[in-house]
């Protein structure tokens, strides 16, 4: 399907494709096994300006474009969902600074992030605050011109490897959700340590760690926006980043589909390639159609975000939910088409199933996405 991409967008897509094929795909199995952080691949992405795709020009990037981010993330994810998420998670940690940082904060942090000299991360999740973000226990107490952070964040993608963290902490517990605030915390700040690295089912090239704050003293000027804006920062960030997660799911689905089509043309049973069997063909047709439908939703949402349309919560949720559900279904079907070989780790397809699963869970479970969509529908009708 032709999405009428601009010349610049085509260029980005082709370049990301080249990086994916030449640098990511050959390294995918290695990092899946070793669980090392893929610095060498991220360096190539950085040198190719990929980290500048979602950062405005005046701060060293190309444009603050969700569509750019989606195109690159989709291509990277075709080759490896794990390496791609290291990239996309840096975008997630960068977006709140782009959206809510003051000029001084932007000047200080964005140029290094745009060049990929530093990687970012976003930290909201806690052991008792997942979908229910109001359960956050990490606190930030103002003392003079500093804030003192205490608490524990976990499941933080890029945790430990990122240099720049955006952390959500409670500045006024009595106000509930309105008592949360967002802070920029630099790696190396005394009082910030990293806990255990998680051993994950999929996206194993990416690092997922605990962030432990023990009387971690940060300058008051590291507050993003104002006190009490923590949840607004989070929601607006997620509205922009969810198309990115959707693009990750889309890329994983596309990658699995391509491998499946290639395999069924080569696999001979009953004297002919299994691609000649109608049962197989119909599976491929359904998979391809669902992937294309997901792509339409993801690109359209990304374009809405870039066009400056304010309320995209519903569309973002739809794109993330649908693309990740498609990714799960398509990867499982792709494995089925590989038959017994697909179940073996010698073949690349089982990894796609493992990598796909997380996209239904993180940045809001798909159940939470459905809540968002339903709430928007009801509100629209009530208007």
């Amino acid at each position: 399907m032709d999405y009428l991409l601009t010349d610049e967008q085509k260029m980005i897509k082709e370049l990301a494709h080249k990086i994916a094929e030449e640098k990511i795909r050959p390294a995918a199995a290695k990092y899946d096994i070793s669980e090392e952080y893929p610095w060498d691949v991220l360096k190539v992405m950085a040198e190719s300006d990929m980290f500048g795709l979602f950062i405005p020009e005046e701060y060293g990037g190309f444009a603050n474009s969700t569509m750019n981010l989606c195109l690159a993330t989709e291509e990277f994810s075709r080759a490896c969902g794990g390496i791609a998420v290291c990239y996309a998670a840096s975008a997630l940690g960068t977006i709140p600074i782009v959206l809510f940082g003051d000029d001084e904060q932007k000047k200080k942090y964005l140029p290094d992030l745009a060049k990929g000299k530093k990687v970012a991360a976003f930290a909201i999740t806690e052991p008792e605050a997942g979908s229910d973000a109001s359960g956050i226990k990490t606190t930030a107490k103002k003392e003079g011109d500093h804030y003192i952070l205490n608490g524990l964040k976990h499941f933080i993608t890029n945790g430990g490897d990122a240099e720049t963290y955006v952390v959500i902490a409670m500045t006024n517990k009595s106000k509930g959700a309105r008592g949360a605030s967002a802070f920029i915390v630099e790696k190396g700040t005394p009082g910030l340590t990293f806990g255990k690295k998680e051993d994950k089912f999929g996206i194993r090239a990416s690092s997922t760690r605990e962030l432990i704050f023990t009387d971690c003293k940060i300058p008051a000027k590291n507050l993003l926006s104002k006190e009490g804006m923590g949840f607004i920062v989070t929601m607006k960030t997620f509205d922009m980043s969810r198309p990115g997660v959707a693009a990750q799911a889309l890329g994983i689905a596309q990658g699995a589909l391509e491998l499946a089509v290639k395999y069924v043309r080569e696999r001979v049973q009953f004297g002919k390639p299994i691609s000649s069997f109608q049962g197989i063909q119909w599976m491929l047709a359904d998979m391809a159609t669902e992937v294309e439908a997901a792509r339409g939703l993801v690109y359209t949402t990304a374009r809405m975000v870039d066009a400056g349309i304010k309320n995209v919560a519903k569309e973002s949720a739809m794109a993330k939910m649908y693309a990740s559900d498609v990714a799960m279904k398509v990867t499982v079907d792709a494995l089925q088409l590989f038959g017994g070989y697909g179940y073996m780790k010698d073949y690349p397809i089982e990894k796609y199933v493992r990598d796909a699963k997380i996209t239904q869970i993180y940045e809001g479970t798909n159940q939470v996405q459905r809540n968002i969509i339903a709430l928007a529908l009801i509100k629209e009708m009530a208007r």
Partner: protein, 260 residues
Amino acid sequence: MNIVVCIKQVPETTEVRINPETNTLMREGVKSIINPFDMYAIEEAVRLKERFGGKVSVLTMGPPQADSALREAISMGADEGYLVCDRAFAGSDTWATSYTLAGAIKKLGVFDLIICGKQASDGDTAQVGPGISTHLNIPQVTYVKKIEEATDKLMKVERMLEEGYEIIETPLPALLTVVKEINEPRIPSLRGLMKAKSAKITMLTQKELQLDAQQIGLCGSPTQVVKIFTPTPRVGGQKLTGEIPDIAKQLVDLVKDEVN
């Protein structure tokens, strides 16, 4: 350091199709790429520029579509692209090609270094690089796998041999041909691609170069292509088994058969 890199656009396939009537390459329907060995030449030139400053000019001779090869080189960090393109140059063999490229390099002005890939993946002759240096009367070092030292006057390089390598010091200007061991060509940056898209490619025709008409194109090419064919792949040998005296006897019989 002013560096000239000579590149060639080749078909992206190991099975080159030949027009049986004209004995020339058939380019239709095959994607064109920069000769893979030339990618190492471009990369090494850009690295030298990054270390010492200066300018990298990329030069190719070919049809108008070779423009895209020059743009790709610019996306990797080269500064200028020159396309030697004229009907008068068509049908050049390695002699005429190296004469023509040498003429174009003279036209570009002062240079310190010329880098070429060791050979092109289609013709596989490895003659054009050495030919250019001969026409320009400058030293050549072929099969370079590492540049050890470089100043504005001298260069010390490792040259690959069948067994091991030799270290050669050459005054500049000189011409190097490079092998794939020398580096890993970079993936272009988005900024590089954008620059390449709008870069100006300078066309050099016979009108600009004013070369000796007897030494260019088909009539300047002493090579006569009598026949071109794809060599049949070597089939596996025959394995003799049994006791050693038996094997020896079998072998002698086979040799005898062969002789007869």
